[in-house]
């Protein structure tokens, strides 16, 4: 054991006074030195952490969180704008469609009314013309019929003249005979 401890001194220039082989962690002569250096090193570490490192990392994380939150807010704002634009477009479209339907309806009913009236007028005209024609036809018929006896009498007179030759019978006589035949 003493041999072992003799070799330990090779790492330290000055060498340490060995504590008769006591277990190193329980060697209380090293405690003041360990405590002092622990307090110094840990104190410096704590100071650097609380003053430099942790505020810095906290700042980085917060910046990132803010940035993300800001971007999200911007995105939702833009989305809302888009939604609004879509809604207004939809309503404009619906309005336009309604207007178009009304216009088409109006145009159709107007055209229909015009056509109706034009047709009515044409029909009226036609009816008038028809009755006029009928009247003239009936007039012509009547006229013609009134001439039938005359023509028949004349024709009969000629026939009789041709058949019996010479002298034509008296017109009144012929007419009387034709009338009697026609009756």
């Amino acid at each position: 054991m003493s041999n072992t401890q003799g070799n330990l001194n090779t790492t330290a220039e000055v060498g340490i006074v060995e504590e008769g082989g006591s277990f190193p962690p329980f060697d209380s002569t090293t405690y003041p030195s360990q405590l002092l250096w622990l307090v110094l090193s840990f104190g410096v570490f704590y100071w650097v952490m609380s003053k430099v490192v942790l505020p810095r990392i906290g700042g980085i994380l917060e910046d990132r969180r803010d940035r993300i939150a800001g971007d999200m807010a911007e995105a939702s704002r833009l989305k809302q704008e888009t939604d609004e634009a879509i809604a207004s477009y939809e309503s404009a479209l619906a309005e336009a469609r309604k207007k178009a339907t009304t216009m088409a309806h109006d145009a159709r009913s107007k055209v229909k009314a015009e056509t109706e009236s034009a047709r009515a007028a044409a029909e009226e005209q036609l009816a008038a013309k028809l009755s006029e024609s009928e009247q003239s036809i009936s007039k012509i018929t009547a006229e013609s019929l009134s001439h039938v006896g005359e023509i028949a009498a004349e024709t009969t007179g000629e026939l009789v003249k041709a058949l019996i030759g010479g002298r034509a019978p008296a017109k009144a006589e012929v007419a009387k005979a034709v009338d009697a035949a026609l009756k």
């Binding site: 070799n7 330990l8 190193p24 962690p25 060697d27 003041p32 250096w37 952490m49």
Partner: protein
């Protein structure tokens, strides 16, 4: 030479403290030792990493910055989880403790490096720092109301003295359990590692049979090394969690 090889497998040798610059004030030895050196190295490594990695303050973090941010958020979540938002006033302390213990444990995993946390005085000092903070802040904030910590509510009056006695004992044993847990884990782990590694060295001295039989301790050494890395992190975490829970007592003593 015999002494040297004996040294190589002496599992306690790694915990020896040797002076680098002797300092003596008023007859008390305050020398800068290998333990002091590794405290400084621990602080330097942790500080440099955290400062340099966050130097750029990137909105999109680099890998190193992400590690720094993750350690920050990890400790913050642990503290907030057990002590609530009020507990964030102790965040610098808890973060410093976690990083110090964690980096010290991890540096201790390097061969030939001294493990700062394998010294009971160091872990005890850190535990006293925690319990001291809890006690002083508890009395400062709640005055005598802090003593409600020892009188759990909803306990029948008859058993209050007994329960209070147990609570007081458990409170007083906190620094001991906190420090001994960390110290003993680091000490035992490093001794185990050294013993198994020592077997390998010893057995290889016995020729071919020895080398063949050295394979098993070699595998074990590798496995224990992995385990020790886990323990190094886990003990730092446990220390932090317990610190957070004790701080929660200081903030809300009536439970």
């Amino acid at each position: 030479m015999a002494g040297n090889s004996g040294n190589a497998i002496d599992p306690i040798h790694q915990f020896h403290i040797s002076k680098i610059f002797p300092v003596e004030i008023g007859g008390v030895d305050f020398s800068f030792t290998n333990a002091s050196l590794f405290m400084v190295v621990t602080v330097a490594v942790a500080t440099l990493f955290l400062v340099l990695s966050t130097n750029r303050r990137g909105l999109v973090p680099s890998r190193a910055q992400l590690m720094a941010e993750m350690s920050y958020e990890f400790v913050a979540a642990t503290l907030r989880g057990s002590a609530g938002n009020d507990g964030m006033r102790f965040f610098p302390l808890v973060f410093s403790l976690f990083m110090f213990v964690f980096v010290a444990n991890m540096l201790g995993m390097f061969p030939y490096f001294f493990t700062v946390t394998s010294q009971i005085i160091v872990t005890f000092a850190l535990a006293i720092l925690v319990i001291g903070t809890v006690t002083i802040y508890g009395f400062f904030k709640h005055g005598a109301g802090f003593l409600k910590l020892f009188v759990p509510s909803g306990v029948p009056a008859g058993v209050i003295p007994l329960v209070s006695a147990i609570e007081v004992i458990s409170f007083l044993s906190r620094p001991v359990s906190l420090s001994v847990r960390l110290f003993a884990n680091m000490l035992a782990g490093h001794i185990t590692l050294k013993v198994f590694a020592g077997f390998v060295v010893m057995l290889t001295g016995f020729g071919a049979v020895g080398i063949a039989s050295a394979i098993l301790p070699l595998i074990l050494t590798v496995a224990i090394t992995a385990l020790e890395f886990l323990v190094a992190f886990l003990q730092a975490y446990v220390f932090t969690v317990l610190t957070c829970m004790y701080l929660a007592d200081a903030l809300h003593p009536s439970h």
